[in-house]
């Protein structure tokens, strides 16, 4: 008997409410390809990037055409339980059926089942919740790409510590970017758009300076010493990570 499952599908690109629908689909086979794994999805995140892509907005990058008579299932990330292992995956003994895994990239995680390459899997220990496991890969990978790209953009010689400035610092990626930076002895200066966001950010990740761009004079924090205006650090008493790095 074929397993029936639900999937969010689109047969054309456009606004979500116009192009998305739930479709019943069937697993063609419960035996995945030799290097693949069949995963029953527990939860999947919705990233803004998902919406940009399914809407084919230019900010999401180029999209593959959807052929006539076929559908696209959005979603690249999620957490789920391994149902079946492909033969080659079994041989590696890295994964087992019933194991909880996070995955990225997957071809269509906005479904109840998805087939994923074993290279896209990460075993999740019990201490990590489904809510975190479902979203931990894309945002961390983005933060990592940003750190690497930033590092490669700095022209040597430069003397540590390196300072970075980041806006949207209270966003999911913004939080991780700051933490990864701190772990590498880079000192973030964090911009947010409201005092409310600043308070929220301070409670989640205290330490590095936070500036609200809702303050009309926020740019004055970056004045050079020769102007006689206080530098950012002098005005705010140093860095929480100074003792670590």
């Amino acid at each position: 008997m074929q397993t029936e499952f639900r999937s969010i599908v689109q047969s054309e690109y456009g606004a979500p409410e116009k192009v998305l629908r739930i479709a019943k689909r069937y697993l063609k086979s419960e035996e995945p390809g030799s290097g693949d794994v069949l995963v029953k999805v527990i939860a999947r995140p919705i990233h803004r990037g998902d919406i940009l892509v399914l809407s084919a907005l230019p900010q999401g990058g180029p999209v593959a055409p959807i052929s006539n008579g076929t559908v696209r299932v959005p979603g690249l990330e999620g957490v789920g339980t391994i149902i079946r292992l492909g033969t080659n995956v079994k041989a590696t003994k890295k994964f087992s059926e019933g194991q909880r895994v996070a995955f990225f990239p997957a071809n269509g995680s906005w479904a109840e089942y998805v087939v994923v390459s074993h290279k896209s899997l990460l075993t999740i220990p019990n201490e990590i919740s489904n809510q975190i496991a479902a979203q931990m890969l894309v945002n961390t990978i983005t933060a990592s790409i940003l750190i690497k790209t930033g590092h490669n953009s700095l022209k040597p010689p430069f003397t540590p510590p390196v300072y970075i400035l980041q806006n949207a610092a209270a966003s999911g990626v913004g939080l991780l970017l700051a933490q990864v930076a701190l772990d590498r002895c880079v000192r973030p200066i964090r911009l947010v758009r409201s005092n409310q966001s600043a308070e929220r950010l301070r409670s989640v990740l205290p330490g590095p300076p936070i500036i609200s761009t809702s303050d009309s004079d926020w740019k004055n924090r970056f004045a050079k010493p020769s102007t006689g205006r206080p530098t950012w650090v002098a005005a705010h008493g140093g860095w929480a990570t100074k003792d670590i790095c």
Binding site: I46, I145, L165
Partner: protein, 126 residues
Amino acid sequence: MGSGPRWVGDEGHMLKLAYDALGGKAIDDLADVVDDGATIINYGTLESGTGANVYSLAPNNVALKSILIGSWFRLPDEEKQKDFELALNLAKSHPTLFQVGHEFEFDDYLEAIRDVFRPGKPESSY
């Protein structure tokens, strides 16, 4: 704010690198406060959906780069695995950095999508 060096640290270090997730005028603002020859790396258009004003980059000789997560797919498997391990370590050591917003039933996917655009919200899942 004019060109020339601007010192942001008490040890005399310059601000040569900025990250932008907003696009539009936010890039102008970053270009205005970084130091001469800095790089701004854009990775989103959270707010504006508009492009950058390239003329705002000129006064401080700022370079602008834009990245998408697609560049990660071209990395060797070992590099990708390191990022997976990074995610695992962060999730274990700093779970509060992974902000959990609302959770929705599968059938409520449109409501979940609308929630993504609620200002100041963490991640949504369904």
